[in-house]
Symmetry: C2
Subunit: 233 residues, 2 copies
């Protein structure tokens, strides 16, 4: 968030974004789709994790992706290769997705697909450990990634992202032998500010921890579906 | 930058920031200090590079640091251990340093030190590959870091940072044997959008490339000093 904002202006901006996010979530609930907002620094492995996840879960869940990037369709093209529908949003100079952009993505998704046939939508946010945490897009849960190459201190230095996360994936654990990094220390630093998030160590390269991540996804999809049914009754 | 800005508001914000940056640069010029704005994603190795640089150049250059972090004094404390004066700025929720924050840092620096005795000031920005590139702080040159763990595509996906950089440091090259990354491809991707930047591959761990980085610093300090003298004549 740009501190030079006037406080009232900032409140209005976040308020308008929140209203848009609530509308997006209502729409996703009507379709019966669970939405996960995937956030991290650039290069923490969001796209590779999604490639693996789409491949592994495609037999049991119908999935789609909204892919946010400042420029290029590079990530969208990577994810489309597996056959998953991917809506690409280029944010231009914007450093995060906001609810208005995702509303546009949902509109396109509705036009191109039969939304009721889908179970799960991933929103891959712009690579940025700061701003995306402030702008809800209509997700049911927030997933943050932190690569072990980024260092143990990041949860303390960028607390909002790690406080907001429902699930934290500690990624690239295959590189641990080559780094002076203590994964227990990362976990302890996250626990200082967030006692409830699921924390899962993964390597998309070796497959370590991916089954735990898939279990978390299944539980989250089931919980969302149950809540939607309860609301309808 | 938050796209939901009104265009006029955004222009005013950047205009005000630029005026503040120009004032900061005038002040630094009067003191005879060259200022480098160090920017990258979180965890690309800015602080470790500065630790090495301060240690290696302290016999020949008088240096200071303005250290920008959202929260904590962790990096400032690391850098102070070598004896360098470090002004810590906590940006709170702000995702980058702006010229007003750095003006406050320069004010404190002037109060605590004799600025005319210094040659070089590093501004370590908030870890963010997007927003810091838009907000000049009064620097004479911009230095961007990209860790090889972040992937080859980042210059294309986050073009503003790589277009603005005067020097690009490709960091953590000691990890190359454990990654499927082609450093030549990173360089080629940078060259698509920036033909003038110095590009130096470094490892703060093994020392690879650091001498080239120090040479670039010396040349930049000399160029700034010569320009200041020419302006005074």
């Amino acid at each position: 968030m740009h501190q030079t904002f006037d406080a009232v202006l900032e409140m209005n901006l976040l308020h308008a974004n929140q209203a848009g996010a609530d509308a997006n979530r209502d729409r996703l609930d009507r379709w019966g789709i669970t939405c996960l907002n995937i956030m991290s620094s650039p290069g923490s492995g969001k796209t590779q994790l999604l490639e693996e996840t789409l491949r592994s879960l495609q037999a049991e869940l119908r999935m789609a992706v909204i892919e946010g990037d400042m420029t290029t369709q590079l990530d969208a093209e990577r994810l489309r290769k597996g056959g998953t529908p991917v809506i690409a949003i280029n944010t231009g100079r914007a450093c995060h997705l906001d609810s208005k952009m995702v509303a546009g993505g949902l509109h396109q998704f509705e036009h191109e697909q039969q939304p009721e046939a889908f179970d799960l939508m991933f929103v891959e946010n712009v690579g940025n450990l700061v701003c995306p945490a402030e702008f809800e897009v209509g997700e049911h849960a927030k997933v943050a990634l932190l690569s072990i190459t980024e260092g143990e201190d990041k949860p303390l230095k960028y607390p909002l992202m790690f406080r907001e996360a429902d699930c934290l994936l500690i990624t690239k654990t295959d590189l641990a032998p080559y780094l002076e990094v203590d994964i227990d220390k990362i976990v302890a630093n996250v626990r200082q500010i967030n006692s409830r998030a699921a924390i899962i160590s993964v390597s998309a390269k070796t497959g370590e921890g991916l089954e735990d991540w898939y279990t978390w996804i299944r539980q989250t999809v089931t919980a969302c579906a149950n809540r939607s049914i309860a609301q309808m009754v």
